[in-house]
């Protein structure tokens, strides 16, 4: 009887119970944050707005453009919040995260904030002339020209990869490459061809929005709204 019962646990024996608990923890997090696709839609729309930023700056001027950008961001966030509260939250239900899940979220937020502070610092120092680009020797000219942009793209890819690892979600790796390379390609086109509309970034951001919408449609089909418990 001992071996008969243990035989049914052979698959579980290969994977430790702690690993399965971690997977359960990640699955609950993924379901709560990413399953409805609205996170993806928000991310994609923010980058679409960013891709329009240089064109609108030329049309509206820096101050008005910044104001327009903030209003657009507000509209996107309000619309997504409304969609979440009316459409997906009632289907998804409510979760209060455990201590370990909160710590995972905190680590991602810290990394994101660190990346934003680092980028802001670089731009601020460069704009007041305190930061000069290093004079690379022995590097090809194109690599020396876009050194900071390549670094920034690498940081974006690393950040999304970190998110992918923390949440165990494959499409976050793809988003890292899409946003990182889209941004780099846009900068290259802007510098070399004077192209103001960052269309590689717009294209990759639109792809992220489309993935989010597909995810949302799948979510709505998979999780019908329940009128009451039981």
């Amino acid at each position: 009887l001992y071996f008969k019962v243990l035989g049914s646990y052979k698959i579980e024996a290969k994977m430790s119970i702690s690993t399965q608990l971690k997977q359960a923890e990640r699955y609950a997090l993924r379901l709560a944050i990413f399953q409805d696709g609205l996170w993806d839609v928000t991310l994609g729309l923010i980058f679409v707005l960013l891709s329009l930023y240089p064109v609108l700056r030329r049309l509206l001027g820096p101050a008005l453009n910044l104001l327009a950008f903030l209003i657009e961001m507000g509209v996107v966030i309000a619309a997504v919040s409304l969609l979440r509260s009316r459409l997906t939250a009632p289907r998804l239900g409510l979760i209060r995260m455990g201590a370990s899940q909160k710590s995972r979220l905190r680590s991602v937020r810290l990394a994101g904030a660190g990346l934003m502070v680092f980028t802001g610092l670089i731009f601020a120092l460069a704009s007041i002339g305190r930061l000069r680009e290093p004079a690379w020797s022995g590097l090809p000219a194109w690599l020396a020209t876009f050194d900071m942009d390549i670094l920034f793209a690498t940081l974006i890819i690393m950040f999304f990869s970190l998110m992918g690892i923390v949440f165990g979600l494959g499409r976050l790796y793809l988003y890292g490459w899409l946003v990182g390379l889209g941004n780099l390609a846009s900068t290259v086109l802007e510098v070399t061809c004077g192209m103001l509309f960052l269309y590689p970034l717009a294209l990759t951001a639109t792809l992220i929005v489309l993935i989010g919408i597909t995810q949302l449609v799948g979510f709505l089909r998979r999780y019908p709204q329940r009128l009451a418990e039981g």
Partner: protein, 109 residues
């Protein structure tokens, strides 16, 4: 002496497992409740993929054992139930986890 012999018997460790937790459906519920602070009925249904009736039946068993507590309220006119592990439930799951780990650790491939 006889007691020591029983404790050394590996099959005894299996019989000592907490059967309230050991049933696959309840093990799944306990696992998810162990890694979160609390969830409502809808979220737990989505997590486990179980039907309302099945979930309610297993939750009642776990509640009767004192492993989960259910906080019932109304959101508007709709009933809303928040479910979480009790201290005893968390302790029982930890113990179950330790038992299973030591049982499976020496299992040959």
């Amino acid at each position: 002496m006889a007691k020591a012999a029983v404790a050394a018997d590996p099959s005894q460790a299996l019989f000592d497992l907490d059967r309230t937790i050991h049933a696959p459906a309840r093990l799944m519920i306990m696992t998810y409740l162990y890694v979160v602070d609390s969830v409502d009925y809808v979220f737990l249904t989505n997590l486990t993929g179980m039907t309302w009736g099945n979930l309610a039946s297993h939750l009642n068993t776990l509640e009767a054992a004192g492993y989960v507590e259910m906080e019932k309220s109304f959101v508007g006119k709709k009933p809303h139930t928040l479910i979480k592990l009790t201290g005893a439930g968390r302790q029982a799951f930890r113990q179950y986890k330790g038992q299973m780990q030591s049982l499976l650790a020496d299992l040959p491939d």
